[in-house]
């Protein structure tokens, strides 16, 4: 496995800037999740690392060696595409065996059989091995696509929203399975997702992208507890962080324009009086939608709370985050 370093990467498509001065180091055996809204440049980053696209400028290093001039095959990377493209003229088994039969691997036949069946088992698609690739559901196609990456032992795994069209149960099964495989192989993984549970549970590091810029790179905990901006703070956490005018509560530092309060960072019982608008019972927790000075905010209550809509509640911030008018974090 390899350490992947991106240095000052720029990439544009015509006038559309896809990546702008992105630098990051993906340590060996780490699981890096890229977060960002649609169009942020996540897929572009993976394509540059894979070698399908070349950066306009900047370098990409594997274990300190510049590989920008190398072909995808030479780089020895495996990729799960966002639009999982299975070879339609081949069966599932042949699709999974395809990378193993490549001229650089030339795997012996019985080893191919063994690996393909093991991967199919892991991904719960053993029954479909002899189907044609076109005779699968979307979720099955996606799993075959993951399988085509997992049969190999590449230097880096690149996965672009690999679990997006699976049902919740399968998704949580495979989340654990993927994490287990990555950890046991000591694989380096670059992983794109919109699902924040995936980001929090699987990542050793999270990279937050915004309009082609890497705004923050750190452990999930750092991003969650110590975000550099409103934007980074909003990537993680469900329900989302409450962003309110700084003067709503006393104690804001000079220059602060907004205060960021995670739902669990709102203390009840004292402070300012807010009105309960809506109560959402979710089984393991209950969400309270509150209104304070015409601002909406969400907080958590214990699962079996008796609070009713229309009642009033005193709230105060606890370890709040402050942001300047430009959205940047102000550390007090």
């Amino acid at each position: 496995m390899a350490e992947v370093t991106l240095k000052n990467i720029f990439k544009s498509f015509g006038s559309q800037v896809a990546l702008s001065d992105v630098s990051m180091t993906v340590p060996d055996s780490s699981f890096v999740v890229l977060l960002g809204p649609t169009g942020a440049g996540k897929t572009t980053t993976l394509r540059l690392v894979s070698g399908l696209d070349k950066p306009d400028s900047g370098t990409i290093l594997f274990d300190g060696v510049d590989i920008v001039a190398q072909s995808p095959a030479q780089r020895n990377v495996a990729m799960v595409f966002q639009q999982y493209s299975l070879y339609p003229h081949l069966s599932v088994r042949e699709n999974l065996a395809f990378p193993l039969k490549s001229p650089i691997l030339r795997t012996p036949a019985e080893e191919i059989t063994r690996k393909v069946e093991a991967v199919a088992e892991t991904l719960q698609i053993s029954r479909k091995l002899d189907n044609k690739a076109t005779e699968l559901s979307g979720g099955e196609m996606q799993r075959v696509s993951i399988g085509r990456a997992l049969v190999r032992s590449p230097r880096v795994y690149l996965m672009d929203e690999p679990l997006s069209s699976l049902d919740a149960k399968l998704r949580s099964d495979l989340r654990i399975e993927l994490k287990r495989i990555q950890a046991s192989l000591g694989a380096t993984m670059l992983y794109v997702t919109h699902d924040q549970t995936e980001a929090m549970t699987m990542a050793t590091h999270v990279g937050v992208l915004d309009l082609g810029k890497l705004v923050q790179f750190g452990t999930p905990r750092e991003i969650y507890e110590d975000p550099v901006s409103i934007y980074a703070a909003s990537r993680l956490g469900a329900p989302k962080i409450n962003i309110l005018p700084a003067d709503l509560f006393p104690g804001a530092p000079a220059g602060a324009a907004s205060i960021g309060l995670r739902p669990e960072h709102i203390r009840t019982g004292k402070g300012r009086e807010a009105q309960v608008i809506r109560v959402e019972y979710l089984g393991d927790q209950t969400r309270l939608h509150l209104k304070l000075d015409n601002q909406n905010l969400v907080t958590l209550a214990e699962a079996h709370t008796r609070i009713q809509p229309g009642s009033c509640l005193k709230i105060a911030p606890q370890s709040p985050l402050y942001f300047g008018p430009d959205g940047e974090r102000i550390k007090s």
Binding site: A73, Y84, S85, Y87, P88, H89
Partner: protein, 313 residues
């Protein structure tokens, strides 16, 4: 499956459609059936009026097609041995004897060599060019594609004279190579454009996946793109073959002996004492077979249609 379905036509609709299709097929197939039937008529039946629909089948036309014959003179009669084979017997019955094979077989072989040879090169070169135009950034791509198409904007025969002179200079007249080159050049524009359309339809993601899976671009091309372009390649091959197979004007102009193809030869089949229509019809019938067989062989690829993909759009 029974009951009401939005997409499945009802029994009645199918029945009406079937009748219409069969009627249309019969009308359009009439000339073809006529030719095939004439090949099995005797010369007398072939020009009978009103035309005979029911007739006594005869292989005389086919025998005349493949042989040259001479009239038996009275003094030869004495020395002649009795006929050995069924075709000799047919010939003897009309007072003739077989002098040797005709040139039809050789002309037919020329057609096969030139037709399939030029089809192979048209499709081979066309596929490579179409792939390059479809996938790579080719300088002045649009102009090149337009130029390729423009070679078909006038009938090929319009350049017959220059080609005739050029071929005479180059020693390509009446050679197999010359005809293969010519038909390939004419067909190439069709094959590049047709195949580019088919290859454009194949999502690039497949090749990208193959590149990641450890294959070179060329390997990705023949392992992933070619199988999916099979439909396009098959239909392009059929179009190219049909053109090269039926081409008449250039064949008349540029070939006379060694490399003459069947189309200019068939009309020259003349029997003793008038046009031998059954022999001409027999020649035409046999001439139809290769294209028919080729099309039937490739039918599987044509009918399968473009693979509806496993790429999520």
């Amino acid at each position: 499956m029974s009951g009401y379905s939005v997409t499945e036509p009802s029994k009645r609709q199918k029945w009406i459609a079937g009748v219409l299709v069969i009627t249309y097929a019969l009308v359009t197939l009439m000339p073809l059936l006529w030719v095939i039937a004439t090949g099995f008529k005797s010369p007398a039946d072939s020009i009978a009026y009103p035309p005979k629909v029911v007739f006594h089948p005869s292989l005389e036309g086919y025998v005349n097609l493949f042989t040259t014959q001479t009239r038996i003179t009275p003094d030869m009669k004495a020395t002649l041995t009795p006929p050995q084979t069924w075709y000799e017997r047919i010939v003897r019955n009309k007072g003739m004897m077989i002098a040797g094979p005709s040139r039809y077989g050789q002309r037919f072989l020329n057609s096969i060599i030139i037709g399939f040879g030029s089809t192979f090169f048209s499709v081979f070169l066309g596929t490579l060019a179409a792939y390059a135009f479809s996938r790579f950034r080719v300088p002045i791509k649009d102009d090149l594609l337009f130029f390729i198409l423009s070679t078909r904007m006038m009938p090929p025969v319009a350049v017959a004279i220059p080609i005739f002179l050029m071929y005479r200079q180059l020693g390509l007249s009446d050679t197999h190579l010359g005809m293969i080159l010519l038909y390939t050049a004419v067909n190439l524009s069709l094959s590049v454009w047709l195949l580019k359309g088919f290859i454009d339809e194949i999502p690039q993601e497949y090749e990208e996946a193959a590149l990641i899976d450890g294959y070179t671009r060329f390997q990705a091309f023949y392992k992933v793109v070619l199988p999916q372009a099979a439909t396009g390649i098959a239909s392009t091959a059929i179009f190219c073959l049909i053109f090269a197979w039926n081409e008449y004007a250039f064949a008349v102009l540029l070939t006379s002996g060694t490399a003459q193809t069947a189309p200019p030869f068939i009309p020259t089949i003349i029997g003793v004492g008038g046009q031998d229509w059954p022999a001409v019809a027999a020649g035409a019938t046999i001439f139809l077979l290769p294209v028919m067989i080729f099309t039937i062989m490739l039918r599987k690829h044509l009918l399968r249609g473009i693979t509806f993909g496993a790429v999520r759009k």
